[in-house]
């Protein structure tokens, strides 16, 4: 059973797709289907809405998420009341979303459900922690890598990445684009002492000195960095950006004299929105990037079919991907 044993070593796991229709839901259904026969307590939630039976954007058939008897799932009030599954409400949390409060429930039957979940990273962490109350062994987060989601899936211990023809219909390009995301996921984490400090910072740009102290640069956004140029490197060469980082920031840093010693720290890999060319030219010149929260990549799944009808060769894609990533890659459709 590919990668299931690995998955079980984590307390929390997110399954994210690089694009809609990259096979995330099939991947999730595969994992849940395998876990159902194991003597493990599983909880499931989502960031953002998921589980619609048809994809609203492309109007393609989308597999629903199938939950098995005994599993715990979390969904907002509106979706909970629309469910078909027979389930028992364990608690109604204080976390509010646009679809109502989050309901924590246990599946009494096995059926398909509509999932929705915590609106931001803070609530997501709280919900994962809350699952301890119900003796949950593994919490699975149906995730999204999107600027639109305020909740970052990177707070889970492990991650499964779904990629496929919907992301790019050209094998070399698809491999390159996926490799970039994998490189970001594998960025090293900062030392524990600094991590503890960074976990409490939600916004702002800081210089980090050799003793891991944070110095607020009082810069509103990375677009204003030019103005704080003199201050940035007055405490050393480390810079922590709590929010999103774009091409501008990477280009700005690349052009600095002390370039080779610069270390950029971000909250987690989802906060990097630079394009691959800009990112790699920063790294090639010696720039270092580290994250405050790192997630471990458990597996990469591919979906060779795109909603526009492209169908790549599964074997060819898998081989190319494995070669580039140096880790096992699975075709979700063939995982049975």
């Amino acid at each position: 059973m590919p990668f299931i044993d690995d998955v079980l070593t984590y307390k929390s796991l997110s399954i994210v797709g690089l694009e809609k229709n990259t096979g995330k839901t099939e991947c999730l259904n595969y994992v849940l289907g395998r876990l159902k026969d194991m003597d493990k307590r599983i909880a499931l939630t989502s960031i953002g809405i998921d589980g619609e039976s048809r994809d609203i954007v492309t109007n393609t058939q989308k597999p629903e998420i199938r939950i098995y008897k005994g599993m715990i799932f979390i969904s907002a009030e509106k979706h909970y009341l629309q469910r078909q599954i027979t389930s028992e409400i364990l608690d109604v949390s204080n976390i509010h979303t646009s679809l109502g409060r989050l309901v924590i429930a246990k599946a009494i039957s096995s059926d398909k459900v509509l999932l929705s979940g915590p609106p931001d990273t803070h609530c997501l962490k709280a919900i994962i922690a809350e699952m301890n109350r119900y003796n949950v062994d593994l919490t699975i987060v149906d995730g999204a890598l999107s600027r639109l989601s305020l909740a970052s899936p990177a707070v889970t211990e492990g991650m499964v990445l779904a990629t496929g023809a919907a992301y790019s219909a050209n094998i070399p390009e698809l491999v390159r684009k996926t490799k970039y995301v994998v490189d970001l996921i594998n960025l090293p984490e900062v030392e524990p002492e600094l991590k503890r400090k960074l976990d409490f910072v939600e916004s702002g740009i800081f210089a980090v000195d050799a003793e891991s102290n944070l110095h607020d640069l009082k810069v509103q956004s990375v677009f204003m960095l030019e103005k704080a140029k003199d201050k940035i490197f007055s405490y050393g060469n480390r810079l922590f950006v709590a929010g999103a980082t774009s091409n501008n920031l990477f280009e700005f840093l690349r052009m600095q004299k002390n370039m080779a010693n610069i270390e950029l720290i971000v909250k987690d890999f989802t906060k990097i929105f630079a394009t691959p060319d800009v990112y790699y030219s920063f790294v090639k010149k010696g720039g270092k990037v580290r994250v405050a929260t790192k997630t471990k990549l458990a597996a990469v799944c591919i979906n060779p079919t795109s909603p526009q009808g492209y169908r790549l060769s599964s074997d060819e894609l898998k081989a190319a991907m494995q070669d580039a990533l140096q880790m096992p890659v699975y075709d979700v459709k063939k995982l049975k």
């Binding site: 909970y80 389930s87 028992e88 409400i89 429930a105 246990k106 009494i108 096995s110």
Partner: protein, 478 residues
């Protein structure tokens, strides 16, 4: 006025409310909706409740009870909306039924826990009958779904549905036509939904009979939360129960909790005040920085706390109830309304006079009346307002720097600089230690002239100070 609106009006009140250790959102909502009690019976009832809570909380044998109740209170959810739906004969959905069940279980647990604290225990109705409706198997677990205990036929139908679904999956795997099974599953689902809806209707109907008990319990749980928080605050902040009297309000050891805490943090002295407020007007004079504004704020705060059912910050207090607290305090912002500070003040004072005219019992507090206009007319305004209010059914306290006022009303003065402090090195930081904040009777003929001395302590340029002193001397010679 509800406590919620008073928070922005009466300074220091938000500090007291924020410091309350209320455990539930429900408690917060009910607290903020507290009315300003005006009848002696209501205020006394509120205060006696707090007194009972303080007494119970102070007894060591109840410590464990209060700890356990606190945990239960923090789990309580506000189900006011759901109760409204029950009253309106609406059918509740599963989430609402869950809320009612878990609330009823929690309320009964709190009821059991408080069995040794009679006045709390007796507030809570027994919700056993509600629990029995929603927990027919008597598991006492708050989780909820429509199981076969509500409708035995569900067991069979759900089993059947599962097996049909299973066969659909099997057929789909082999690409065999599953239309028949699909239809069958839809039919079973429809039947299940119908039965479940019937159960929801039935449960909602049964709960309708207990709507008032549920409401009573909800208010009781909120009040228990509020009372425990008020009692804890009274003990921690050293607040006391005021005596409610008919005529003269009097305090000894009155203090402003926020300022007292701040000074204590800096290890500095806080001087509580003794004061009596009779019907009519009382004029207060005193040097700058002598605490006149704080005194007015403390009087407003204490009166408000009392009439919202809190203990008050003093070592003893007799309070005459009023219908409203009205004040004009210097730091109010008027720029935004486009009025000069003088215009804004006059409009405010006029409002107060209009209210006083109706002969309602009021507490009126005016800080440095007419301070922003010329002293000749200012004096006349202060005298006129003081004289007018003196004849109304109000307790008015007006601070002023004007001397030689033509009024017969009562006058007090803040003692001000301690005499033997003349030689001490007084700075902006320690100035408070050299001021005696106590109030003494005064004829008002001579107000303290310490403005220059204080300006000097504040570090105002010596050229200005010496020129001012010279002018003062020339004036007095003339």
């Amino acid at each position: 006025m509800q406590l919620k609106s008073a928070l922005t009006e009466i300074s220091g009140l938000r500090y007291m409310v924020d410091k309350l250790d209320i455990k539930s959102g429900l408690g917060h909502r009910v607290l903020l909706a507290s009315p300003f009690f005006v009848s002696q019976k209501d205020v006394l009832y509120q205060l006696q409740q707090v007194a009972q809570a303080v007494d119970a909380f102070n007894r060591s044998e109840h410590k464990e009870t209060f700890d356990k109740v606190a945990i239960k209170l923090s789990q309580v959810r506000d189900i006011a909306g759901t109760i409204k739906n029950i009253q309106k004969h609406l059918t509740l959905n599963d989430i609402e039924l869950f809320e009612v069940k878990s609330f009823a279980l929690l309320a009964n647990e709190i009821r059991d826990l408080t069995s040794s604290v009679e006045f709390l225990h007796s507030k809570l109705p027994n919700l056993n009958k509600v629990i029995a409706i929603l927990d027919p198997e008597n598991t006492r677990i708050p989780s909820f779904y429509i199981n076969s205990a509500f409708a035995p036929e569900l067991t069979e139908l759900r089993k059947k549905l599962a097996s049909v679904e299973f066969s659909i999956e099997d057929l789909e795997k082999t690409n065999t036509d599953s239309n028949k099974q699909y239809q069958q599953s839809e039919e079973i689902r429809a039947k299940i939904t119908e039965i479940e809806d019937g159960v929801r209707q039935n449960l909602s109907e049964q709960l309708h009979g207990f709507a008032s008990e549920l409401n009573e319990a909800l208010v009781a749980v909120a009040n228990i939360d509020i009372l425990i928080a008020k009692a804890k605050q009274a003990i921690y902040e050293r607040l006391i129960m005021p005596e409610i009297v008919a005529d003269t309000t009097s305090y000894s050891g009155l203090f402003y909790p926020q300022l007292k805490e701040l000074l204590e943090l800096e290890k500095r002295r806080y001087q509580p005040i003794d004061v009596e407020i009779h019907k009519g007007t009382c004029l207060i004079t005193g040097a700058n920085m002598a605490g006149k504004t704080v005194l007015l704020k403390t009087l407003a705060l204490s009166q408000a706390l009392c009439q919202y059912g809190f203990f008050v910050p003093a070592s003893s207090a007799k309070i005459a109830l009023v219908e409203q607290i009205l004040f004009s305090i210097a730091d109010e912002q008027s720029e935004l309304s486009g009025l000069s500070s003088y215009a804004a003040e006059m409009l405010k004072v006029n409002q107060i006079v209009q209210m006083a005219k109706k002969q309602h019992p009021l507490l009126v507090l005016i800080d440095e009346l007419a301070r922003t206009t010329n002293p000749t007319e200012g004096r006349a305004i202060v005298s006129a307002v003081a004289n007018y209010l003196n004849g109304c059914n109000v307790k008015a306290v007006i601070t002023t720097h004007y001397s030689g006022l033509s009024t017969q009303c009562r006058k007090l003065r803040v003692k001000g600089f301690i005499e033997d402090s003349k030689d001490a090195t007084i700075t902006v930081k320690n100035i408070g230690d050299y001021i005696d904040y106590s109030l003494i009777d005064d004829d008002g003929s001579n107000v303290p002239h310490e403005a220059l001395r204080i300006a000097q302590i504040l570090g105002v340029d010596a050229d200005v100070i010496s020129e001012a002193s010279r002018l003062m001397e020339t004036n007095s010679k003339q």
